[in-house]
């Protein structure tokens, strides 16, 4: 026992003298697994070259809302990289682990990469789906997760709403009607984005899957580019999945500097390139130009511009008795 203790002491002394072992926890949402696997390796290499310290990054993935809850309930995240600002807002408000103005601390609304909602259809596009209008036609079956439980589905709902407003001279009643008709065509409301992908791809339910752009590309890559096609609508939403340092937790772990660097490095050319390779739209224009073939041009609206921010949008559309609930009321 004594020798064991001495060994532990000695080794920790050696470690203190030489390279430090830093442990960082990144709590993220569902579809970013592949992205952060690649990014973490790149960052560890960069940090080792810069400071000589080893950094080991653990990841946790799950539905965005659930992940935020875990952090509020004490999951010790140094950084969070979630699907929507509303979920990080919740961490700021409820657990007070970071300041309310967290989104102003990093460039571009603290979102180093963006994404959007596109359509995935079966080979040859048998139902001729080109735009949102085609989704509300009778006989078209649409697969999308439940906006109440899925961050991605909330972006989808808002994209459809924005399209309906644009098409109908900003007539809310008609947008409401459009949304109701759209969700009448949804036979299954899965609880998360991955669930919907499984329903569409493996159970062969539905004519079109409304999906994150990166998830659609990934599904094609995974299940065969000869089976599915991606259709880009004329208008969609600029989905901004934000990132933030969880100040209080990072400070307690002594990880403030490395956590900050971890997020800042996402904006570097290398970070941007990894994002683009994983089908997230990079902010850096040079990298974006290099990967332009992957990202179709379309009109993108933002939550802040079109809906007055997430807090407002959440209450109006997805709260109890909100617009989404009322679609399902008889």
């Amino acid at each position: 026992m004594k020798t064991f203790l001495t060994l532990v002491l000695a080794s920790s002394l050696v470690a203190a003298a030489g390279a430090k072992q830093i442990k960082l926890l990144n709590v993220s949402y569902d579809p970013t697994r592949e992205l952060y696997q690649e990014y973490n390796a790149a960052f560890a290499k960069y940090w080792k070259a810069k400071t000589g310290d080893d950094v080991v990054i653990s990841e946790s993935h799950g539905g965005s809302g659930k992940q935020a809850q875990s952090v509020i309930n004490g999951l010790e995240a140094d950084v969070v990289t979630l699907a929507l600002a509303y979920d990080i807002d919740a961490i700021a408000q409820r657990a007070k682990l970071l300041p309310a103005d967290w989104q102003k601390r990093l460039p571009d609304n603290s979102t180093p990469y963006t994404s959007t909602i596109v359509f995935l259809v079966r080979k040859g596009n048998p139902k001729h789906i080109q735009d949102w209008d085609d989704l509300v036609k009778p006989g078209v079956s649409v697969v999308t997760p439940n906006p109440k439980t899925s961050g991605g589905a909330r972006w989808t709902f808002l994209a459809a709403w924005a399209y309906a407003l644009e098409k109908n001279n900003h007539d809310e009643a008609r947008a409401r009607d459009f949304a109701a008709r759209l969700y009448k065509n949804v036979p299954v409301l899965d609880s998360g984005a991955r669930g919907s992908t499984i329903t569409f791809v493996q159970h062969e339910v539905g004519d079109v899957l409304l999906a994150w752009e990166n998830e659609a590309h990934l599904a094609r890559k995974e299940f065969g580019a000869d089976k599915f096609e991606i259709v880009t609508p004329s208008l969609s939403i600029l989905a901004e999945p934000p990132v933030a340092v969880v100040d209080k937790t990072a400070r307690r772990h002594g990880n403030e500097i490395v956590a900050q660097a971890y997020l800042e490095y996402l904006y570097s050319e290398q970070g941007q390139e990894i994002a683009a390779k994983n089908f997230y739209r990079p902010r850096n224009e040079k990298i974006a130009a290099r990967y332009a073939a992957n990202f179709a041009q379309l009109k993108l609206v933002t939550v802040d511009g079109e809906f007055g921010g997430w807090q407002k949008a959440q209450r109006k559309f997805f709260g109890d008795d909100g617009i989404f609930d009322r679609i399902y009321q008889p």
Binding site: A90, N146, K148, V188, D190, Y328, Q329
Partner: protein, 277 residues
């Protein structure tokens, strides 16, 4: 005077009772109490409003209804399986015995995905049902099927040991006294296994009401149609509406507890009745 203590052969009544109470409190009572405290954050009006929305009512109907029907079906088929396992020797019996426990061991999520894949329109079973016009996946029937799967071992595992312990001589005696097979079953076998059957039913039912993982994959989760209560709770949690979520949970708990209590009372009465004769 209330007699708390009964002298037994072995000492240690106070110690064991104390430990049992402490354990129950830590594991069951305190978390439940916390749920009640959280739910009490709502005003009575809000509480009532949350619970009586058409959506919540539909979910309650589906969850309790499907769990009840599935437990009922498992009552019959579980008894059948237990009977076969307890009474007959045949090749592959050990394997069959182990299979029964599978729903216990399998993560419910995996069970849900497997069932959904099997019963999907292009699945092994679903493709034969589709021409008959039977849709399982994404319907209320799917919820029932998932709960069947989840509930089976509860009935089998409670009934099987009782059947195994059942004295064959009792049946022989009944037969020699002139009882026919049906009478033997109804008058001799059934009363002996009834308490175990009821327990199995109650367990399967309670489990079915709370089941989440397997159901959400096979159900279409449409509000008012195929949405189960646990999903409603998860939905509320996603909105950070903790009080609203626990309000639903509390009602679910109370309803389940009342039913379990009822079944226990029933069981107690029937066993007392038997003790008398």
């Amino acid at each position: 005077m209330l007699r708390l203590r009964q002298r037994g052969v072995l000492p240690g009544f106070r110690l064991t009772l104390g430990c049992a109470l402490l354990y129950l409190s830590l594991i069951v009572l305190i978390p439940l109490a916390a749920a009640f405290v959280k739910a009490s954050e709502l005003s009575p009006w809000q509480f009532w409003h949350d619970l009586t929305t058409p959506r919540a009512l539909a979910a309650f109907r589906l969850s309790f209804g499907a769990a009840f029907l599935a437990a009922l079906a498992n009552l019959f088929f579980g008894l059948l399986v237990a009977w076969v396992l307890a009474r007959y020797q045949f090749w592959g019996k050990r394997v069959m015995d182990a299979l029964v426990d599978l729903p216990f061991a399998l993560p419910t999520l995996v069970a849900g995905i497997t069932l959904a894949t099997l019963f999907a329109q292009n699945g092994w079973i679903g493709r034969w049902l589709a021409p008959l016009g039977i849709k399982v996946v994404y319907t209320q029937l799917g919820v029932f099927v998932a709960l069947l799967f989840i509930g089976l071992p509860f009935v089998v595992r409670t009934v099987q040991p009782v059947l195994e312990d059942l004295d064959l001589e009792l049946e022989e005696a009944a037969a020699s006294l002139g009882a026919n097979r049906r009478q033997t079953f109804r008058r001799v076998i059934l009363p002996s296994v009834r308490p175990a059957l009821l327990t199995g039913f109650a367990l399967a039912f309670a489990r079915g009401v709370g089941e989440y993982g397997s159901v959400i994959f096979i159900s279409s989760n449409l509000p008012g149609k195929t949405e189960i209560v646990p999903l409603l709770i998860v939905t509320k949690l996603e909105q950070f509406d903790y009080a609203g979520a626990t309000a639903i949970a509390v009602v679910m708990l109370l309803a389940s507890f009342a039913l379990l209590l009822l079944i226990n009372l029933f069981q107690w009465r029937s066993s007392r009745y038997h003790a008398r004769i």
